[in-house]
């Protein structure tokens, strides 16, 4: 089995997109870009992002209308028959997706995603329905298979995320239901399994196989790093132990192996940051920023002095300090790092940022009709960010 798309075209499209970025940053000339676009052609229908969203919404509505008709047909039959019909309907949608759209060169056009998720949903729902939604092992396993299939065959990124998370859930649940000592070692199993997955992904990337799935591998790589961290994080382990394993922690006592988890909560972010800087690995760097924040949260959560506003202020000052310090330090590029923008990212524009600012801070300007509590409102907007 392979991807549903013509791999040369997928590659060509990616090259043409990348060349356009180079052109925007002035690395290549206009006529060079035209030449590249001319020889790296793909007949795909792959509209811009907004049109894709529009088509996605429209396709969801249209398919729910079709679903509605079928619902009327099978509504009076038994539960098993409906479940079975769902599976057939889902499988048929996969077929329609390929025959009606992908064969007409739709490539991630919004319509394809809508039908894909629709198909996945019905297949999973149907199989779940057959087992009365009781068999969690089975449902998780089916989810894993279906999402992996969708991620692999249609290069879909959301399905990749779903597949990786379901894999983690499956692993957790299997060990959880074994009980006893197996429940205790879940964190270590997570760390070992996802470290292994990380290195598998890395070696796949290095060997250049699966280059069609470049972005999917990038996602698996990032999520693996996050899950390794989650396996060792004190907060995650403690709260899950209390919630799932029924652990009760008495005053002055702590979870088993607490020391190990404290250490890991500190060490993993540092290790990520170290490897990120040493290997100039942007994935490591980005993940490390996230997990540093979560580690800070973990320690604040259990050793809080009860002044979140002081924490926020100090955290803000530290972040501003670090950012300005590093920017200053990288005035001239050092160790291969630069503060300049080499290639633009899609969401990096100032317009997006402006919208963010007005939504997080500006939205709660004191209004005329709120005069009973003037000014108070202007703070709460910022409060939405205090999950730090």
């Amino acid at each position: 089995m392979t991807s549903a798309y013509n791999d040369i075209w997928v590659y060509n499209l990616a090259v043409a997109k990348e060349a356009k970025k180079w052109w925007k940053h002035g690395y290549v000339e206009q006529d060079q870009l035209t030449a590249i676009q001319h020889s790296y052609q793909a007949p795909f229908y792959h509209p811009n992002f907004t049109i894709r969203i529009l088509l996605f919404i429209a396709a969801l509505f249209a398919s729910s209308g079709i679903t509605g008709f079928f619902t009327l047909l099978v509504a009076d039959t038994g539960r098993d028959f409906i479940s079975f019909a769902c599976i057939v309907y889902g499988a048929a949608s996969f077929f329609i997706l390929e025959k009606l759209f992908i064969s007409k060169n739709h490539f991630k056009s919004g319509v394809t995603e809508a039908i894909l998720y629709h198909s996945c949903g019905f297949v999973i729902g149907g199989i779940g329905g057959l087992s009365d939604f009781n068999n969690v092992h089975g449902i998780l396993f089916v989810c894993l298979i279906v999402f992996s299939f969708a991620a692999f065959r249609y290069l879909d990124l959301l399905c990749t995320i779903a597949a990786t998370l379901v894999a983690a859930g499956f692993l957790f649940f299997e060990f959880y239901s074994l009980g006893g000592i197996f429940q205790q070692i879940i964190p270590f199993v997570f760390i070992i399994v996802f470290t292994a997955l990380y290195f598998i992904v890395k070696s796949l990337q290095k060997r250049g196989v699966l280059k069609l799935w470049y972005n999917n591998l990038l996602i698996v790589e990032s999520i693996s790093l996050l899950l390794i961290y989650a396996g060792g994080n004190y907060f995650v382990v403690r709260e899950l132990s209390v919630a799932m394993l029924g652990l009760t922690i008495q005053e002055g006592k702590d979870i088993p192996f607490a020391f190990i988890f404290y250490t890991l909560t500190v060490l993993i972010p540092i290790a990520y940051l170290y490897f990120g800087v040493k290997n100039k690995d942007i994935v490591f760097l980005r993940v490390s920023l996230l997990v540093v924040a979560f580690s800070a949260f973990t320690f604040k959560y259990y050793f809080s002095l009860g002044h979140p506003e002081i924490t926020l202020t100090i955290a803000g000052i530290i972040l501003i300090g670090i950012a300005i310090g590093v920017m200053h330090h990288l005035k001239t590029p050092r160790y291969g790092f630069t503060r300049e923008n080499l290639l633009s990212e899609k969401w990096g524009s100032m317009n997006v940022q402006a919208f963010m600012i007005s939504q997080t801070m500006g939205g709660n300007q004191p209004g005329v009709d709120q005069s009973s509590m003037p000014g108070g409102g202007s703070f709460s907007g910022g409060g939405s960010t205090n999950d730090f």
């Binding site: 229908y45 049109i51 506003e309 803000g316 503060r339 919208f355 004191p366």
Partner: protein, 320 residues
Amino acid sequence: MTKETPKELFEKGFITAEQFQKIDAITSGKVVSVFYELRTLLYLGVMLFTAGFGILIYLNIGELGHMLSIIALSVLTITCFGYAFKHAVEYTHENVKAPNPYYDYVVLLGALLFITVQGYIQFQYGFLTDNLGFSTLLTAAFFFFIAYRLDHVGVLSLAITALASFWSISVSPQKWYSGNFFSDSHLYNTAIFFSTVLSSIAVALTKREIKTHFTFTYLNFCFLLFFVGSILGLLEGELWGIYLLAIYAGSVLAFYVARWKKSFLFLLYAFVAAYIATTYFLARTIFAEAIEIWFLYSIASCGGFIYFIIKYKNYFKQDD
């Protein structure tokens, strides 16, 4: 796209050796840009700091000594703007490149602290309470000045928000899902009026080529406000015919603006608004009860829509 692509393009003669070296350094990861990471950190820092500082003062009102806290805040605010004006590039109608990478964030910090000061003074002394509208208007005017003088889109969006809240319109989704949006019954008319006037001004400014990169932010606010306002007016039910026409007019306008500005976000708003309006119209007039018709309707309308978009795909191409 792989790490070998630049080499391949070089060997095929699409790019020169010099260009290849430059590009290959980036794609192979020899040079890594931390541009977005640093900016995100700065942005988060500014947000956390102003939020934390705001709450800190709010909780300790009366304990810290009012004058002291106002002075501390004001000094910080003035420092930010002092720095900003000292390093400011001369005003032009064009897009101005910030003198250094943290410049924009200093301006943003100043603006957010300014809101805190204003809110604090209002809360503590109350003498602005009676003139709350006036003080909001003053904030808006000041922010517009900063946005244009220092060329800051973020502060511009704060200015528009402040101006909108002078008219008691809240422009935040946080308000939408908490159900407080347009709590006053006729606020949607205000919103429609406000967005029409503001967008006309924005278009006039664009025609004169004054800060054309601000147009998107203006129009984004205006279209959102206009469509939400007129849809709420429509659902209110009494004069729904008028609002229906307003939505159609707005959609046609958004369609042309989307073509003009090459921004398909407006097209998205237009189609969604027009679809809601049409569906409402049909629900009130032609078909009311039979559920099958609704299924048929969603298939036909959305299917037709998809067909239309794909058929005229060249019309929706973004050529930037």
